[in-house]
């Protein structure tokens, strides 16, 4: 479904050139739960951003369903992100003024789709937040916030869910819940990529790749 071919990414930090990725080859298929591990600064997040078409590689190709995304315009990339990619972040990034319902429905605003109550309810039930739909993010626990963010990432029925350290701010019990949720999503056919520092969780994933010095080690 997604194929990365010889991906390199370099950027400048002042006068210094940083080579974040030095030739990454990686394939992700539907229904797979892939954990990406590696030390800080190894290039994990850069890889995730390239997978999510938020960032473009300096060299190499990203093929999404066989289509090379490096030739796509900005609006085509926006469309791709809306329709096929879901994002989950370590800091959740929920909008404080909006209810759980509205936070989950936020991506529908940008994809110009109606936020049907039944769909949001179904997602909320799936993540165990059906009783919290009218609550503000400030009234939720960390685990509930992340589950809201996962529901938000799923609202456009993406083909792949990209999670950047989704358990990084959670205790072990909530981390377990989030992991179980991601695993059940992948078992239902959703490709799921999770960056994590939690080696125990990574070990339970279907596949784990390690990134070190900008290179993938399987």
């Amino acid at each position: 479904m997604i194929e990365l071919k010889h991906i390199e990414k370099s950027y400048h930090r002042g006068a210094e050139e940083v080579r974040a990725l030095r030739g990454v080859d990686l394939s992700i298929v539907a229904g797979e739960l892939l954990a990406i591990i590696g030390p800080s600064g190894a290039g994990k997040t850069t890889l995730l951003h390239i997978l999510g078409c938020l960032d473009q590689p300096s060299k190499g190709e990203v093929l999404f369903d066989g289509v090379n995304t490096s030739n796509m315009s900005e609006s085509e990339l926006v469309q791709l992100r809306r329709e096929k990619i879901g994002f989950v972040f370590q800091q959740f990034y929920l909008i404080p003024g909006l209810s759980v319902f509205d936070n989950i429905a936020l991506p529908l605003l940008f994809s110009k789709k109606q936020a049907s109550r039944s769909k949001i309810m179904a997602l909320a039930e799936m993540v165990g937040l059906e009783h919290r739909l009218d609550h503000a993010p400030a009234q939720l626990s960390g685990g509930e916030m992340q589950r809201t963010a996962i529901a938000r990432g799923l609202v456009n029925d993406p083909e792949i869910l990209l999670a950047d350290e989704p358990t990084g701010n959670l205790d072990s019990e909530n981390s377990d819940k989030i992991y179980s949720l991601l695993r059940s999503l992948s078992q239902n056919g959703l490709a799921t990529v999770m960056i994590t520092h939690n080696t125990e969780l990574a070990a339970r994933a279907q596949r784990t790749v390690q990134i070190r010095d900008g290179l993938v080690h399987s």
Binding site: L54, Y93, G97, P107, L108, L109
Partner: protein, 388 residues
């Protein structure tokens, strides 16, 4: 409500105090803009109505400054110059004149009360023709020792019809015959005397500061004024239209200044909006990055930020107009206390056109102020933003 509008509104509510203060800044400037525009409109209309009400077509005055004449006619000033007695004879002898009445405006000190009265000497039989809009409690003076009081004078002196008014430096005991109802204009501050009594008090028998003239056929006014000017040297004829122009010109500079100040206030509030929204954009950089990641285009981000400024501007505009309507009496009282001539009646009233124009104006200014923060937000790099 559109999702964008709801999101923009919720964003503003996250910093209620900041949003409220920014909105109040806009409200203040729009309130002043609305008041000034309404006042200008009310001033012109009020002036026209007031001059219409005088029932006179032109004034014969000593030659001099037309502005002085304007002030005289509308009771704002006293001119130390008198018309010759013979002028009245010439005016009445001129063909086509329906009514000619001498008017004597002066200040008269009253040592007993320690005050200076503004006196308006007029032929009482012509009073209803000159001031047809007046409502008088009591009666129009019929004898030389009877007077009519302006509303404010009567209130200040606590006098009723039949009371004695002490202005007796010449041993004349004046009695209040009637009191003029509140006009809201300078008329309220005068003591109206039979012209002969006024002339006697001033020690200027047969003097007048102006002669008010009504012609039989207004279409022949030019012909009549030309004939009068040619026949009588040392006079000037000022038509009511000229008086209106003189006062309008006097007021125009004040209006221009006040509008300039309003525009500066609006500019400052627009900068306040820009600053407030820009701060919000900087604070929400990561959130904007998230929105880009979950499918928001640059245009979506631009729209959200622009709608925030629109909400601020429109709500500020509406609140400003509401405040200025509620405070219109206070504003009007203040303006009346500082301006030399203000026509009677309500000068600041709700005019939908002026209100809509003021809101539309601030809406456009708000949009302009929002463009820079919206552009800035739309150009946020999502990768950099999410990294924090």
């Amino acid at each position: 409500m559109s999702g964008y509008l709801k999101l923009a509104g919720k964003n503003l509510l996250r910093h209620r105090t900041r949003s409220a203060l920014t909105m109040l800044g806009i409200a203040a400037s729009v309130g002043v803009l609305f008041s000034v525009l309404s006042f200008n409109k009310g001033f012109s209309e009020g002036l026209a109505v007031e001059l219409e009400r005088t029932g006179l077509h032109f004034m014969v005055v000593p030659s001099g400054c037309a502005h002085e004449v304007a002030a005289l006619v509308l009771h704002g000033a006293v001119i130390p110059k008198f018309l010759d007695t013979k002028v009245m004879e010439h005016v009445t002898a001129t063909a086509g004149i329906d009514l000619a009445t001498p008017i004597l405006v002066a200040q008269l000190p009253d040592p007993q009360r320690g005050e200076i009265d503004l006196i308006y000497g007029v032929d009482m039989s012509a009073l209803s023709a000159i001031k047809p809009g007046w409502e008088i409690t009591g009666k129009i003076p019929e004898h030389d020792n009877e007077i009519l009081l302006g509303y404010e004078v009567a209130q200040h002196e606590k006098l009723q019809p039949g009371d004695r008014f002490s202005s007796s430096s010449d041993g004349i005991n004046l009695v209040v015959a009637g009191i003029v109802g509140l006009t809201g204009s300078q008329d309220d501050a005068f003591v109206y005397l039979p012209i002969k009594t006024a002339q006697k008090l001033l020690d200027h028998p047969a003097a007048a500061t102006a002669i008010g003239v009504k012609v039989k056929d207004p279409t022949r006014m030019v012909e009549i004024t030309e004939a009068l000017t040619a026949a009588v040297p040392g006079i000037q004829i000022v038509t009511m239209g000229e008086v209106m122009n003189s006062i309008s010109n006097l007021a125009a500079s004040a209006r221009a200044l006040s509008l300039a100040i309003v525009l500066i206030a609006i500019l400052i509030s627009a900068v306040g909006v820009m600053n407030s929204i820009l701060m919000a954009v900087f604070e929400r950089t990561q959130e904007i990055g998230m929105m880009r990641a979950v499918g928001a285009s640059r245009r979506d981000i631009f729209r959200i930020i622009l709608e925030e400024t629109t909400i601020l501007s429109l709500s500020g505009g509406l609140v400003g107009i509401l405040i200025s309507i509620l405070g219109s009496r206070m504003i009007e009282a203040f303006v009346r206390s500082v301006m030399p001539f203000v026509p009677s009646g309500n000068l600041i009233s709700f005019d939908p056109g002026v209100a809509a124009g003021s809101v539309l104006f601030i809406f456009v200014i708000g949009l302009c102020a929002g463009i820079y923060p919206a552009l800035k937000a739309s150009k946020i790099n999502p990768v950099e933003a999410i990294k924090g």
